[in-house]
Amino acid sequence: MADEIRYLNPTKADVKRKKYCRFKKAGIKYVDYKDAEFLKKFLNEQGKILPRRLTGTSLKFQRKVGQAVKRARHLALLPFVTDMLK
C-alpha cells in the first residue's frame, strides 16, 4: 500500500500546444459568409458557434466569424439548430 504513489490530478504527459488565430496566421482579412464548409469549422455539432477559448481565434475575427455565420444562417446555408452536423 505504501509503495504505491497516487496522484490526484493526472500527470501532464503531453505539452499543451499554443492556440493561434488561423486568420492572422494565414493573412485572411475577410470571412466569407457564402463558404458554409469553411464556417463549419467554427461550429459545434449542434450548429452553435464555438467560443474563442476553444478555437483560439482573435477577437477581431471571432466577431467576423460570428457575423458571417449569422448571415449564412439567414440564407439557409447553415442551420440554426441541428444535430450531428459533423
Binding site: K29, Y30, K34, A36, A76, L77, P79
Partner: protein
C-alpha cells in the same frame, strides 16, 4: 432642363446645389459619369472638383436571393432578369453574377426545402438598397434575400475568387 433629363436623380442634384452656390461649380452626375459640368467663374477650381467627385463614389454591394423552387427554369430566369434590370435601371452597375442553381436549404423556408440561389454583385448608391429590398419583399417568388455592403477586403476576396474560377 436638367431636372427633366435626370428625373431619377433629382434628390442627388438637390444635394449638390448647396455646394455649387459657394463654389460656382455644378456637376450633374449619373451612373458615376459626368454628364454636364457647369462652371460659373472658377473654372479650374481643382479642389472643389475633387470634393464633388468623392461624393458620388458608388458603394459596392452584393446581393443573394433565393427563388422559390416551384417555378420552371424559364420563370426563374425571368425573375433574375427582373432584378438585374432593376439594378441597371436605377443607376447601378452589375459587376458580377453567379447562379448557384438549385440548392438544398439547411432548414425549410415557407415549407420548401430547396431553392434557386442567385448572386449579383453591383455598384450603386446607398439609397438604392431600400428600393431593391422593397422589390424583394413585394415579389412572391423571392423566399429569402440578403444584401451585403462590401468593404475593400470583401471586394478583393471576390475578385480573387473570380480569377481563380476562370483559370
Amino acid at each position: 432642363m436638367i431636372f427633366l433629363f435626370l428625373r431619377s436623380n433629382y434628390l442627388l442634384i438637390a444635394k449638390y446645389k448647396s455646394v455649387d452656390y459657394k463654389k460656382n461649380i455644378l456637376k450633374i452626375i449619373c451612373n458615376s459619369q459626368i454628364l454636364i459640368t457647369f462652371a460659373a467663374q472658377n473654372f479650374n477650381n481643382y479642389i472643389n472638383n475633387q470634393i464633388l467627385e468623392q461624393k458620388i463614389m458608388l458603394n459596392h454591394y452584393e446581393t443573394v436571393f433565393i427563388v422559390t423552387p416551384v417555378l420552371s427554369e424559364s420563370q426563374v430566369k425571368e425573375t433574375v432578369k427582373k432584378f438585374r434590370n432593376f439594378v441597371t435601371e436605377n443607376g447601378g452597375e452589375v459587376v458580377y453574377e453567379d447562379d448557384w442553381g438549385l440548392k438544398k436549404l439547411a432548414y425549410p423556408i415557407q415549407k420548401k426545402s430547396t431553392g434557386f440561389y442567385h448572386l449579383i454583385e453591383f455598384k450603386a448608391e446607398g439609397e438604392f438598397i431600400k428600393k431593391l429590398e422593397i422589390q424583394y419583399r413585394r415579389d412572391e417568388r423571392i423566399i429569402r434575400f440578403l444584401t451585403f455592403k462590401m468593404d475593400k477586403h470583401a471586394v478583393e476576396y471576390a475578385e480573387k475568387r473570380r480569377s481563380n474560377k476562370t483559370n
